[in-house]
Symmetry: C2
Subunit: 309 residues, 2 copies
Amino acid sequence: MILTVTLNTALDITYRVPALRPHTSHRVSEVTERPGGKGLNVARVLAALGHEVTVTGFTGGATGQVVQELLTGAPGVVDALVPVTGPTRRTIAVVDEQTGDTTQLNEPGPTVTPTEWSAFQEAYEDLLPSSTAVALCGSLPPGVPVGAYAVLVRAAKAAEVPVLLDTSGEALRRGVAARPDIIKPNAEELAELTGSHEPLRATQDARRRGARSVVASLGSQGLLAVTPEGRWRSTPPSRLHGNPTGAGDAAVAGLLSALVEKLPWPERLTRATALSTATVASPVAGEFDRGTYEELLGRVTVTGEVTAA
Amino acid sequence: MILTVTLNTALDITYRVPALRPHTSHRVSEVTERPGGKGLNVARVLAALGHEVTVTGFTGGATGQVVQELLTGAPGVVDALVPVTGPTRRTIAVVDEQTGDTTQLNEPGPTVTPTEWSAFQEAYEDLLPSSTAVALCGSLPPGVPVGAYAVLVRAAKAAEVPVLLDTSGEALRRGVAARPDIIKPNAEELAELTGSHEPLRATQDARRRGARSVVASLGSQGLLAVTPEGRWRSTPPSRLHGNPTGAGDAAVAGLLSALVEKLPWPERLTRATALSTATVASPVAGEFDRGTYEELLGRVTVTGEVTAA
């Protein structure tokens, strides 16, 4: 199975309001809830692609219970979340029905104790031997050491399990130094890591910092991959308008599923780009439409070159 | 004991953010939770005044569980909430730390089935014989008939328990027709009920519609009471700046506690005004400071006249 790690799981709540006016009172017209946190989103896409997937990370309190109940309803996703005392965070997306714009409010997450962090590491190491690949996703909750992803990357490598890291800031910087197989930063995360706003230069620099392969997601301009096997650029057929929520997580699922299927890089990028684009085009935030995805598979362009042997 | 009814209980969540900017993403710096809904707020103030108080209404889902756990920590409040399948609503108050202003997002609440509404009525009727007074507070959740408060007022009167109604809109209009002992509308609710923006005229009109006594809360201008025993106006010592959240609920608790203590109207109004003002002055939304309250008791002015016999 594929293992996804979400240390800062979330209950993602969406509120629709007729119009958001600061400093006034709003009656929410529609409330929807779903399990959130990048690794849980990645898992849902992997399961939809037919892969066996296990999710781990932390869960706590009443919100954690709701997340776990909602996960039970997600076919193909096995729940291996580790309990903590603090409550799983909520994220609130307030959608203004007039403009379609979203205002996001993210709670910081539970404070994880050193004992809870140790318990997680044990659970993670127990899961690695049966994992074909692992994705480490998202922000760290308070209390988890900033070098956490470096520890988890090293454990995966020791177990010879390919590991993809998708995070940002200092957690990414420290994690990259532990030499993950793939990182998937967006343009902003890549610039923050490397100091360069020029995607190709920044991607190459990120490899020098330790990542074996770097797949930079450049929004509507597709993906740029620099790997030991070569470098490629994948481009979706046309600039799509829609909700970018979950597009990066869909790309991670595309890369990871194609990796365990042992597909070459151009096919991995095609799949990741088609999934990501189908997610943007979907009317439901973070979901992708299978028909759109399959149609897009034939329309993604990949250009690039194989590294000379 | 005093009984308070909150059909649309809530988990009141407060988020502090450095500055609220619509259509951007915010990291919440502080999250606080407390049991909410007007009747629960009234109960907390009554308990702080030393009264035995029982709360009823609906509770459901993970949010309802949290509300009940938090209630367990409120000394002197007995939980007699009735379970429903739908989840108790959340209300989110987003406090902008830069301006101090609050943006409010209120979920509509669970949809209550006819069976659940019947179960509540039975539980309510079982509680009435041991109640010295009852407060019916706040909005109706979806599914509860708009005439609900009229039914609950009639049941209280049949059991000879004094009943105070604090709601708005059509629920208030229907409830008033069932002849509650006291209603406590604010200026806006009173204008909506009567069509008049002139407080004295509107208060008198509200009595003609069925309320035995009307106590209009006029914000920083205090309370205006028109009753069979006479009419009075109470005024706080000075215009206080602060957070008006819970001021109306504190006034209800003041009126109700003084009623069961058989105090005359001027003393009821003094207590309600002092509690309400102490709540506005409190740094914690919805709480009151006992010292401030006791000091204010001596500084509220009540003027008025007793009805000629």
